[in-house]
């Protein structure tokens, strides 16, 4: 499979591996649409089922911050492939990629989700709107630089003046919001909350 893809696209296939039987190819974003069409239309490959499309944020990558991952399955040949590409610079700008909705129409909502969560813009998508978050939402929440504590309420929270009462949480919802395994409880001294830095770890 990967050999056929490499024979078709040449050096536009940047990396391949078949670790534990998962055929994976990393292609250049310029040939993303072409690769998808080839995978669908080649009679020996025949990837007729779109499975999943998502993106992963790697802020440390210099050759494209967002890795867009596409999973495909062939119901006739019963094989799978994973296709990846990298888009966007370190600031998350210019994360443009060709839409594959015209190849598999099932990709529509997945591309919308990827746009919503990561801010990858799919060129040629028929209706690229947010799908999970509301239109008023600013930014893209699954980016690594989205602040973990930042919420954007649509309804202003009640204040104690409005309510005419003290709005402190009552037991058992105080402190860690009733959850013994909450974030605050796990952060040892020296950890900065929300950054994933757990401090010194277990000693």
């Amino acid at each position: 499979m990967l050999e056929k893809l490499q024979a078709k696209l040449g050096d536009k296939v940047l990396e391949t591996h078949s670790h534990v039987g998962d055929d994976t190819a990393l292609v250049a974003p310029a040939v993303w649409h072409e690769a998808c069409l080839f995978l669908r239309d080649d009679s020996a490959l025949d990837f007729d089922l779109f499975v999943d499309l998502c993106a992963v944020d790697y802020p440390q990558h210099t050759d494209g911050r967002f890795e867009v991952v596409l999973h495909l399955y062939s119901t006739t040949k019963r094989h799978r492939i994973r296709l990846k590409t990298r888009v966007g610079d370190e600031e998350g700008e210019h994360a443009d990629l060709d839409s594959v909705v015209d190849v598999w129409s099932g990709a529509n909502w997945f591309e919308r989700e990827t746009f919503d969560m990561m801010g990858v813009i799919f060129r040629g998508h028929p209706d690229l709107r947010r799908i999970l978050m509301y239109p008023e939402f600013q930014g893209h929440p699954l980016r690594k630089d989205y602040p973990a504590q930042l919420t954007q309420p649509l309804v202003a929270y009640r204040t104690e003046e409005d309510a005419g009462m003290i709005l402190d949480k009552i037991a058992p919802f105080g402190g860690d919001e009733g959850m013994a395994f909450g974030r605050k409880w796990f952060d040892p001294p020296g950890a900065s909350p929300g950054t994933g830095n757990k401090g010194g770890g277990a000693s």
Binding site: T151, Q152, Y157, P172, F173, E177, M179
Partner: protein, 187 residues
Amino acid sequence: MTATTTKVLEGSEQGFATTKLDSLLGWARKYSLFNYPFVTACCGMEFMAVSSPRYDFARFGAEAPRFSPRQSDLLWVVGTISQRQAPILRRIYEQMMEPRWVMAFGTCASCGGFYDNYTTVPGLDKIIPCDVYVPGCPPRPEAVFDGLLLIQDKIASGVRKVSVVKPRQDPATDLVQINTPKKRTKP
């Protein structure tokens, strides 16, 4: 559990009865609650158990679901409230007629639960007033009944103090504690 029957009618064995209007109204209201179930998440399964014949909250007079907030007395907020749903919940509450009561069913509705992130309202009391909180993930039907009886007590007595169903047992005591260097003592 507190007593849920207060004596409303005095002297009825002599063939006439005296009471206060508020007591009579409270007595009538507490056994004819019309529910508005605002069911958004997995606690809905437990709500179905509570409302179906095995546990059957119709026994407490809270039988009729009204899918119009204008006709309902008790708003059951069952499940996680996302930021996107917050305006809807607020609007439904505003459409309800006075007197109205709100029950937070489950940990997510009460405080957001473990959804400590950008999507979730950390408790419905951030948006609307709440009368009774029922903790649990999800709460047992018995805990829900405790909450319903608390609501009935509040209706009968006219007290609008916020109250919580007391958990029978703190689930945190059963957790296997991992990654807690603060609390670990060397043998």
